[in-house]
Symmetry: C2
Subunit: 216 residues, 2 copies
């Protein structure tokens, strides 16, 4: 006896397979009720010690959107320089959809995280892992609703904190671009653009000890 039918299971695997990190959006809107469903899906993620570390800042002011765009452009240039021989290849890629997406969300980890020890004494970064699970929930729910989403991590966190008045102990982890898209990429965009290739699964799975065979 299962809670999910064969058709349900198929839908769940399909949404996992068809979710894409989108950079191309076509404006439009996300209805308030849809946005709330997506955020509730995020909030149903697991979290270490049930700390629920995720915070969402919805950006509705166009001046703030412009400033976020500028932050990302600055980091895009610095990343390009740091990449050395792949600089020009990187600069050809579209790395964000900030100006074209319907909704813009900044996701951050809460302030005063040091109060949460459960599951984090030796691995304090587990709150980020929990927040990433929340973002993945949002991503899958958005894909199911035919909305694209892109997670942008090209920014200087201190600059973003200053821009949004974030307290010292909080930490921004992503700018999410969300909204209608003309079409979904049929493969990861960085695979289409030949930035990197997918590893075969078998190279990533080991047994009873480390034996990583992937090209580093």
């Amino acid at each position: 006896m299962s809670d999910f039918s064969a058709a349900d299971i198929d839908a769940i695997y399909r949404v996992i397979a068809q979710r894409r990190d989108m950079r191309h959006f076509c404006g439009g809107q996300v209805p308030a009720s849809t946005l709330r469903r997506l955020l509730l899906a995020a909030h149903q993620a697991p979290s270490v010690g049930l700390m629920q570390p995720w915070r969402f800042v919805r950006i509705t002011q166009s001046i703030l959107r412009e400033q976020l765009y500028t932050l990302v452009q600055q980091e895009r240039q610095r990343t390009a320089e740091a990449l050395g021989e792949r600089e020009s290849e990187f600069l050809r890629l579209k790395v964000e959809g900030i100006k074209d997406c319907a909704e813009l969300l900044v996701v951050a980890l809460k302030d005063q995280r040091e109060q949460h020890i459960f599951g984090r004494r030796t691995l304090p970064e587990m709150d980020l892992a929990s927040a990433a699970c929340a973002i993945q929930n949002l991503w899958l729910a958005a894909r199911a609703e035919n909305l694209g989403m892109g997670w942008v991590s090209l920014f200087e966190p201190d600059d973003l904190k200053a821009l949004l008045g974030m307290p010292e102990g909080s930490h921004p982890i992503g700018i999410l671009c969300l909204g209608p898209v003309a079409e979904f990429y049929d493969k990861p965009m960085l695979e289409i653009e030949q930035w990197a290739q997918r590893c075969p699964l078998d190279e990533l799975v080991m047994e009873n000890g480390w034996s990583d065979q992937t090209e580093q």
Copy 2:
């Protein structure tokens, strides 16, 4: 026009809502074909710069399972001590299902991560975020297949690395307990056990700047 029907969308939201961080398992087995589907779902996660940082070590030796159990018990005691006044409350909780789960997987971040700059120059922790998205995919797929999963982060990473012969630059992020369960918790176990309460969504969503109203 959507790629997902209303019934599909409902199934996707249901699996997100009904996924649980499980600590109680009832032995049994996970068929090899099912385990492969789950790992493929994990491998379809997004990753920063398409770096695919996730590595899975399947534990099939019972001696290793015992040693992992011991590692977690050691950290459970240290965490209990670090929690101070909540020590005895914490020690009443079941925090792992290592001995009872059908399959045990250690998830780790790959070695030589410093070679990946795309999306990580200012936020090097983004590879953990990617791996957490992979684990959330696996978790949701497992729930769809009526299998429970628990993510255990109570261990000393250096001890786990030594146990599995992991290279210096790699980093273990979780011990996943996976397999059949007698039933799924109807709420997060830590909520049932009154370790913590769920925050209302509205307290986690802000607009155009930081205004966190949650109790810290």
